[in-house]
């Protein structure tokens, strides 16, 4: 198997007797957009801080491309570009000087590359202005710019859509997909915006109270291949339920004019045929896809911060 770009092994963090991260184990391959989802205070930022070496690990190990972030920091961090929490920049410097500052810290970043990145994040018009005069979204863009400046293999973004307008979110989403699919880099995005993650990620890990509670694949599982809830509008719901139960399907009435069935793609077609041949009028078939939000609230039990 290919070596994962980042590997968290049994990572724990305790501060003052409180366990903030509890035995986290995760592998991230190249070419994937990985979502890190959790309610406020669940430990997303803390995990990211440990991944980039800002915080020490109480237990466990984090390897980036095989290099330990604790023991071999300078080697490990080369592969990483990141925004940790808010994209704080030097306010008294221009956006361009901020980028030049980070460019100088890594050999081989040309002036050309800096301009390229500025263009990519759409800041050409304002890059010579002082960051003090930037809006939150512009600072977020500058944050993304400094993170991708050195073409990292692992891009870590802590709530990157925070402050971006819809167009900006869309651009970022598209760009992250391009980065992962075409340039093959791994993207690690944290968020508590569920719908956002659903559109952006290949896989999502759900973290709660510092514990990893689930990892789910989002893309690839077409909603119709899985068991899902299918709503069928018919003229006589009660009769349809009985007919389906008789045929071995589990159906329940749904509202006044419809029935609900738990089935997959092929099952849906079979049920439709059955209903039609039995003389029912089928007005419509809807597949109710469980959104990540539903799944998320299901696993976390809709629990509040704690």
């Amino acid at each position: 198997m290919v070596q994962p770009i980042v590997r968290l092994q049994n990572v724990s963090k305790r501060i003052g007797g409180r366990t903030i991260i509890d035995k986290l184990t995760l592998d991230l391959p190249l070419g994937e957009v990985f979502g890190f989802l959790g309610p406020n205070g669940s430990g997303k930022t803390t995990t990211i801080r440990m991944m980039v070496g800002l915080m020490s690990l109480t237990e466990g190990e984090i390897l980036i491309n095989g290099h330990s972030i604790a023991k071999d920091y300078e080697k490990a961090i080369r592969y990483v570009g990141a925004i940790v929490e808010n994209p704080e920049m030097y306010k008294y410097l221009s956006g361009y000087d901020n980028l030049k500052h980070y460019a100088r810290m890594i050999p081989g970043i040309t002036e050309h590359r800096v301009h390229e990145v500025v263009k990519l994040v759409g800041l050409e018009g304002r890059i010579q202005d002082k960051v003090r005069t930037y809006s939150l979204g512009m600072r977020q863009r500058l944050g993304v710019a400094q993170a991708i400046l050195h073409k990292p293999q692992l891009l870590i973004l802590d709530e990157p859509t925070n402050g971006l307008d819809p167009a900006g979110i869309r651009e970022l989403r598209d760009y992250l997909r391009v980065l992962s699919k075409e340039e093959g880099i791994a993207v690690f995005v944290s968020s508590h915006l569920l719908a956002e993650m659903e559109l952006m990620c290949d896989r999502v890990a759900i973290i709660q109270n510092g514990k990893l509670i689930d990892v789910r694949t989002i893309r690839g599982t077409g909603s119709m291949t899985d068991q899902s809830r299918v709503i069928i509008e018919v003229d006589r719901p009660q009769g349809a339920v009985e007919a389906l139960l008789a045929a071995g399907h589990s159906a329940v009435p749904e509202g006044g004019q419809a029935i609900a069935v738990e089935t997959d793609r092929d099952g849906t077609a079979a049920i439709n045929a059955l209903l039609v041949s039995a003389g029912f009028k089928v007005y419509g078939i809807r597949t109710h896809v469980k959104s990540l939000e539903d799944q998320f609230l299901e696993v976390t039990g809709g629990e509040r911060i704690g």
């Binding site: 800002l54 020490s56 030097y90 500052h101 810290m105 400094q146």
Partner: protein, 265 residues
């Protein structure tokens, strides 16, 4: 690995792209000019330029030290308060080197100020009082003990002052790194610094051995110019030894804390 000088360039950029650094330099030079003009209008032109230079250097080195302490205190603390420390540290550089680049840029700023002060007082007073007006014998002995010529004396004076400046700035740098608070670093360092003269006088009367090992008993090295041992028993080498010991402790503590710290800003 990359080029360490680039890190120093970055730190320099963060100092000199801010107007406050230039305002400090301007105040320093403007003060020298002001003193000379006042001297000229009240004392007349028959003063020796060296007398004015020596007075100005004495007064303005206090200001220079304050400015250096402010910059030193800001360097690390501001990165923490603004949150930029996170983006600064996640680069392929050890924390040791990032901190060293900051330290070097601070020392360079002190040096730049000293050079600016030295050259501007020289130039201003040359113009104001003329280079030929010389000192008489008694003045010479009073202002420039040790019988050296005024220029050599002033160079030595700056040398001694710079040694104390480095120790003071390192102290401010340490406090700022440990407590991540610029205000505290400025306050504590200046308290020590400005308290020096008063404390030294006061403590001089006490007869405890440990007083000899206090930092601020040794921060004024200019008294040793011309004589390495003084009548009160103090000695240049002993003072330098004490300063060196403090310096090593300051540096070791600063780097240790900076390396260990979890960055949760």
């Amino acid at each position: 690995m990359g080029d360490f000088l680039q890190l120093v360039r970055n730190e320099n950029m963060k100092i000199y792209k801010r107007s406050r650094s230039w305002i400090m330099l301007a105040i320093l030079i403007a003060s020298a000019l002001l003193i000379s003009i006042m001297w000229l209008s009240f004392g007349g032109r028959d003063t020796s330029m060296w007398e004015v230079i020596s007075t100005e250097s004495m007064i303005l080195f206090v200001l220079l030290t304050i400015f250096s302490v402010v910059i030193a205190a800001a360097s690390v603390a501001e990165e923490f308060t603004s949150g930029t420390i996170k983006l600064l540290l996640i680069r392929p550089w050890s924390r040791n080197k990032v901190l060293l680049s900051k330290y070097i840029s601070i020392l360079l700023f002190g040096l730049l100020q000293a050079a600016a002060l030295f050259l501007s007082t020289l130039l201003i007073n040359w113009i104001c009082f003329g280079i030929y007006s010389s000192l008489d014998e008694t003045q010479q002995g009073l202002l420039f003990p040790g019988g050296s010529n005024p220029f050599a004396y002033m160079l030595m004076y700056y040398g001694m002052k710079l040694i104390s400046l480095v120790v003071t700035v390192t102290l401010a740098f340490m406090i700022s790194t440990i407590f991540r608070s610029g205000g505290l670093a400025i306050g504590l360092s200046l308290f020590l610094l400005l308290g020096v003269n008063n404390f030294v006088l006061l403590l001089g009367f006490l007869d405890y051995k440990w007083i000899d090992y206090l930092l601020f008993m040794h921060l004024d090295l200019t008294k040793y110019i011309g004589a390495t041992s003084l009548e009160d028993g103090s000695n240049l080498w002993f003072s330098l030894g004490i300063l060196g010991a403090y310096y090593i402790i300051f540096v070791a503590l600063t780097w240790y804390v900076f390396n260990k710290r979890d960055v949760a800003a």
